[in-house]
Amino acid sequence: MDIQVKKGLLDYCVLRVLQTCDSYGYQMIRDLAPVVELSESTLYPILRRLEMAKEVDSYSVEHSGRLRRYYRITEAGQKRLRDFRLQIGQIQTALSYIQGNGSPEEDPTGREEP
């Protein structure tokens, strides 16, 4: 996927997966695998940024003799996700415009080909 577009979407994918339930690094990668390809090295900075923005927070749970860090979505994170969902209509319009094959009668901007 285009790197810039992907970058913008990943935050929301992570917030969305945390909305279902609290989760830890590897589980998020596994859960998101069918949706978007995500590596450890990509996920870590995302979680860190979301944490700094207080959109997620984290806590440690002991698991088979070691600590596992769980992440949880905060109210600010929920709000960011809600706000984004309101914009999905606009994004979809833009996407289908880009996807169109460019013939003038389909062009909603009404421009004729020169």
Partner: protein, 150 residues
């Protein structure tokens, strides 16, 4: 590659990150490798899933917010130059004093209260030596202060 080898190399390549941040990245990667091993992969396979330490470090550094990175080191070279000037100056004056004031060196050894003032006055010629000493101390102080902050 073994887990610890991978983590050590990753840590080294993350030297642009602040130290406490680096520790957290390593802990997080340690956890993700263990999770994969728990799922049935061998240690080598689990590590291989993360790519090379170089790629992983690059990706992490690209994604990290600016304030988690160390500032570009501009003071380092300045300190080095300061050290070199101080060293050069003291060498220069040491040679000068030995050739021009061989007696004064002997006097310092035996100087007590009032004489020492007299000697100091004579050694006023050696301002370069004092300057060098001050520069050296200054450079050392800044260096120690910076290390304690890192």
């Amino acid at each position: 590659m073994k887990k610890e080898t991978f983590l050590r190399q990753l840590c080294r390549r993350l030297n642009r990150l602040k130290r406490e941040e680096r520790v957290q990245v390593i802990e997080s990667f340690r956890e993700m490798i263990s999770d994969r091993i728990e799922e049935g992969l061998s240690e080598e396979e689990a590590v291989a899933c993360l790519g090379t330490p170089k790629e992983a470090a690059q990706e992490i550094l690209n994604g990290m917010p600016e304030e988690k990175l160390l500032k570009k080191d501009r003071l380092g070279p300045v300190l080095l130059i300061l050290f070199l000037i101080a060293g050069g100056l003291s060498l220069f004056w040491a040679v000068r004093i030995r050739s021009h004031f061989p007696a004064s060196v002997a006097v310092i050894g035996g100087a007590d209260g009032p004489t020492s003032i007299f000697v100091a006055a004579k050694l006023g010629h050696a301002w370069g030596l004092y300057a060098a000493a001050v520069l050296l101390l200054l450079a050392l102080a800044v260096h120690l202060w910076r290390r304690s902050r890192m």
